[in-house]
């Protein structure tokens, strides 16, 4: 059982401070949605609105087609994994996990079964009798997860549920959670400020910034087609270029950068009636080589922007090489290339190289 979650024009004010502004969001049943954003952007507040701990100042909230805006939390088919765990200190691990089932008046034999399964799922079998105070941070987090999952809610809200785990357990739990979500088909609303986690786990990602949704789309879309400078910068790295339109025709839009460098973009990418815009390109999309033909890569002549640059800095990072490039016109770009052995080329600071940027990889950003 899973349910669709809809937020319609939801605004939440704390006094004069607007923590959530006019958020409209439609989360499909059984979807794994991630709210991704920096600290204090309103992720927890959004979850609390869905769970029912906060009432929106305006707007409505719907679960599975039923309006729940003013329903108390205990009447909503939603469970939450709290950022602070919120385990009951007076109850054992077993009793903590059984709490929700007790409230639903599930028969005792079934409680025993389901609690045992839930604890096995989070690899905490044998911790039944422990008190929460006797657990490590990661173990507490897993109990919190088991406590919410065991209730089989239609929507599960997770507030940074893996933040206290070490890298290895975290990865294991990420896969486990994803597998579980597919298996039980519960709608997951997952909060994190870890972009990698968001990219790996989500069906769709909502980028939250200052109480607004900046972009909503699949991980692929978000990464390759960032809508705003914030989205481009928050997920991965991006070269953000200030450009001015100088000519546009059917084949492309020609723009000029501050230093005089000229680039050609897809004509359709350029918004109508706009003179200047921010253009983003991912560092790994900057093709670098000492040979012009290799920088050109496999792209057709007319679609590739070619220019010369000098390597200002080179940082070896193992699998990749990070370069800071300065074009003749003074524009600076960062580039990530596969390491030297894979490429057969060695780069050093001071080298003169060719750069190729494909028109498709230049993304025009929206201005808010």
């Amino acid at each position: 059982m899973s349910a669709k979650v809809e937020l319609c024009g939801v605004t939440k004010r704390f006094g004069a401070f607007e923590a959530v502004s006019e958020v409209s969001l439609e989360i499909a049943a059984g979807e794994f949605l991630t709210l991704l954003g920096p600290s204090g952007c309103g992720k927890t507040t959004l979850l609390r609105l869905i769970a029912g701990f906060e009432q929106p100042t305006s707007g409505t909230i719907w679960l599975g087609g039923v309006e729940v805006t003013h329903l108390p939390p205990y009447r909503r088919p939603v469970n939450q994994v709290f950022q602070s765990y919120a385990l009951f200190p007076h109850l054992s691990v077993w009793e903590n996990v059984a709490f929700g089932l007790r409230m639903q008046r599930v028969p005792a034999a079934e409680v025993t079964d389901r609690v045992r399964q839930a604890l096995e799922l989070v690899s905490l079998a044998g911790f039944d009798a422990r008190r929460p105070q006797e657990l490590s941070g990661g173990q507490k987090q897993r109990v919190a997860l088991a406590r919410a999952l065991v209730c089989r809610p239609q929507v599960l809200l997770l507030d940074e549920p893996l933040s206290a785990l070490d890298a290895k357990l975290r990865q294991a739990m990420q896969l486990e959670l994803k597998r579980l979500q597919r298996q039980v088909g519960i709608t997951f609303v997952y909060v994190t400020h870890d972009q990698e986690e968001a990219l790996t786990m989500s069906d769709r990602i909502a980028i939250v910034n200052r109480g607004r949704i900046e972009q909503f789309g699949s991980p692929h879309e978000i990464y390759h087609r960032p809508a705003t400078a914030f989205a481009a910068d928050f997920i991965g790295q991006a070269n953000l270029l200030d450009t001015r339109l100088i000519a546009a025709d059917g084949s492309g839009a020609r723009v000029r950068l501050a230093g005089g460098l000229e680039l050609v973009l897809r004509a359709a990418a350029w918004p109508a009636g706009v003179e200047t815009a921010l253009v983003s390109i991912r560092p790994e999309k900057v093709h670098v080589s000492k040979s012009k033909s290799r920088a050109q890569s496999t792209f057709a002549e007319g679609e590739t922007n070619m220019f010369e640059a000098r390597i200002e800095e080179e940082v070896f990072k193992g699998a990749t090489d990070h370069l800071i490039l300065a074009t003749v016109a003074g524009t600076r770009l960062s580039a990530v290339v596969a390491n030297e052995s894979a490429l057969g080329e060695i780069f050093h600071a001071g080298d003169r190289v060719f750069c190729g940027l494909h028109a498709d990889d230049l993304v025009v950003l929206r201005v808010n």
């Binding site: 769970a51 029912g52 701990f53 108390p72 939390p73 205990y74 939603v78 469970n79 939450q80 709290f82 602070s84 919120a86 385990l87 009951f88 200190p89 007076h90 709490f99 929700g100 409230m103 639903q104 008190r131 406590r147 919410a148 209730c151």
Partner: protein, 295 residues
């Protein structure tokens, strides 16, 4: 810090450390000796003595006082005292808990002010406050004046010098001792736990019984102890507001040392009384230990 450490002598010699510890403890030990051990010892010794016709203590050894202490008359008074104290503690829990919760959950500035209000009564003498209650409850007092002025004309209540007046006095006197420890527990209670319980499907009543009560139990236990113990021994309120019509054990003991001039018997009652406390305290302590082991 480091300079201080270097300047002090090394504390490797255990005897030196022991000597220092004793020196530091001395004032505390002297205080305990003077105000607790010595009076208790005197009380114990007296309780096995007799008195002569003039009320002087005669140092012999007799069990008579204890035999008298378990006379049905006194057992009944003991029982009544326990009943009054239990009822006082119960009313204080019921009345104090919501107040403590309200204060504990209030905004910080408001919280400090409310706490101050709880403690304001301690700024005046206990006796003055008790007399104030007398002027409220007496036949021509404030309460009856208000009742008479009401449109439906309720008849005057004859409350003063009744058990009800004694209960009012006891609850009034000890309510703050219940509110403060419960407030301490409530303030420590993490609001996220209440939210978690709601989230897991617990309505307000279940949250109260399954989360709030268990987590504030240490405060309730401490408050019960603080209210129960002094109210069982109270004699001033029963005298002033009960008109000595319903004597409690405190009155009886006080009487032995004053009017009856039977110090050995008073001492024996006192010892029985202390034993009773010790048992109550032990039970409550066990209870709290269990709670602490639990939470």
């Amino acid at each position: 810090m480091t300079a201080g450490k270097e300047a002090g002598p090394p504390v490797t010699d255990r005897r030196t450390a022991g000597w220092r510890a004793w020196a530091l403890l001395a004032p505390m030990l002297a205080w305990l000796m003077l105000f607790i051990v010595v009076p208790t010892a005197v009380l114990l010794v007296y309780s096995f003595c007799e008195r002569d016709e003039l009320g002087r203590v005669v140092y012999t050894f007799t069990w008579d006082n204890y035999q008298r202490a378990f006379d049905p008359i006194y057992v009944r008074i003991f029982g009544r005292s326990i009943g009054y104290a239990t009822l006082t503690a119960a009313i204080c829990i019921v009345a104090g808990f919501p107040v403590a919760c309200y204060i504990g959950r209030a905004r910080e500035e408001l919280r400090d002010r409310l706490l101050l209000l709880v403690m304001v009564p301690f700024w005046t003498s206990f006796l003055i406050r008790t007399y104030a209650w007398i002027t409220i409850l007496k036949q021509e007092g404030l309460l009856n004046a208000v009742l008479r002025s009401l449109p439906f004309g309720a008849g005057p209540l004859d409350l003063l010098y009744t058990p009800v007046a004694v209960m009012i006095g006891l609850v009034y006197a000890y309510l703050p001792f219940m509110i403060l420890p419960i407030y301490g527990s409530v303030e420590k209670l993490d609001g996220a736990l209440i939210e978690a319980a709601h989230d897991l499907g617990a309505g307000p009543l279940r949250v109260f019984s399954s989360v709030i009560i268990p987590l504030t139990l240490p405060g309730i236990a401490a408050g019960t102890l603080l209210v129960f113990v002094p109210s069982i021994a109270m004699f001033a309120i029963t005298d002033l507001m009960g008109g000595a019509r319903v004597p409690l054990i405190g009155n009886v003991i006080q009487n032995q040392f004053t009017q009856a001039r039977d110090w050995p018997f008073g001492a024996a009652l006192g010892v029985v009384f202390m034993a009773l406390f010790a048992v109550t305290y032990w039970i409550l302590l066990r209870f709290r230990e269990r709670e602490e082991a639990a939470g």
